[in-house]
């Protein structure tokens, strides 16, 4: 089980408080679909994904990105029990959505990059390290119920 120190929790929640979840969610999911186009395989019904601008402006991408990041925010409230928090979602991603867990790692890293671009100097190596731990923990938790 992942354990977060007090400093790591502070680094994460401190930054999270300043994140515009709706905007950042759409950006993260959009960038995933642009930078790693094979991830579009899960979103056939999202309409126009034909170019970077189409993807970043796509309302379904934005809405789904917001959903994903909101769920992330819930996890941040339960950093000491990520596996428990994501148990149901893990089953969903395996049994219904059939998503390769590698995609959770890709999205986690894209999120880190977006935070870096939003927060610049404030996103220090130490803050990044705490966030890498979190996104890795979330990815592992989401994969935990796979069978």
């Amino acid at each position: 089980m992942v354990h977060f120190s007090a400093e790591e929790k502070a680094a994460i929640t401190g930054l999270w408080g300043k994140v515009h979840v709706e905007e950042a969610g759409g950006e993260a999911l959009g960038r995933l679909l642009v930078v790693y186009p094979w991830t579009q395989r899960f979103f056939d019904n999202f309409g126009n994904l034909s170019s970077a601008s189409a993807i970043m402006g796509n309302p379904k991408v934005k809405a789904h990105g917001k959903k994903v990041l909101t769920s992330f925010g819930e996890a941040i409230k339960n950093m000491d029990n990520l596996k428990g928090s994501f148990a149901k979602l893990s089953e969903l991603h395996c049994d219904k959505l059939h998503v390769d867990p590698e995609n959770f790692r890709l999205l986690g890293n894209v999120l880190v990059i977006i935070l870096a671009s939003h927060f610049g100097k404030e996103f220090t190596p130490e803050v990044q390290a705490a966030w890498q731990k979190l996104v890795a923990g979330v990815a592992t938790a989401l994969a935990h119920k796979y069978h």
Binding site: G30, R31, V34, V35, A52, I55, M56, N109, V112, I113, I114, A116, S117, H118, F119, G120, K121, F123, P125, E126, Q128, A129, Q132
Partner: protein, 142 residues
């Protein structure tokens, strides 16, 4: 996987900006690597890895200079990095997984320094470029 013309253009134009802070960017990328992925420090037992150390600055500068060589010969990255490829295969033998980790930390560093330039298309181009560099550096491993 190879770079499109548009991707090459993006990289060349961003490189002009990046090269003005090349050393700082290289050093910071390494700092991020060692902070987020402490296992990568095992390749540097002989270094002082404290942020700002001479070792960190010199090595960071070296890494970015090599990327600069690849950018200069963006149509022939394999040729530009042939010697480095041999070095990594026969002497350094850094496990291939680590190239992804350093590439990610380079992207994070570039994104934090040049957010306005680091569009989704630029992000793609840089991710691809670093993948290609990583491939070249590991292609002689076996």
């Amino acid at each position: 996987m190879s770079l499109t013309k548009a991707e090459r253009t993006v990289i060349l134009s961003m490189w002009d900006k990046i090269s003005t802070q090349a050393d700082a960017i290289g050093t910071q990328a390494l700092e991020r690597l060692f902070a987020s992925y402490p296992q990568t420090k095992t390749y540097f037992p002989h270094f002082d890895l404290h942020p700002g150390s001479a070792h960190m600055r010199v090595h960071g500068a070296k890494v970015v200079a090599a990327l600069g060589e690849a950018v200069k010969s963006i149509d022939n990255i394999g040729g530009a990095l042939a010697k480095l490829s041999e070095l990594h295969a026969y002497i350094l033998r850094v496990d291939p997984v680590n190239f992804k980790l350093l590439s990610h930390c380079l992207l994070v560093t570039v994104a934090s320094h040049f957010p306005a330039d680091f569009t989704a298309d630029a992000h793609t181009a840089w991710d691809k470029f670093l993948s290609i560099v990583s491939c070249v550096l590991t292609e002689k491993y076996r």
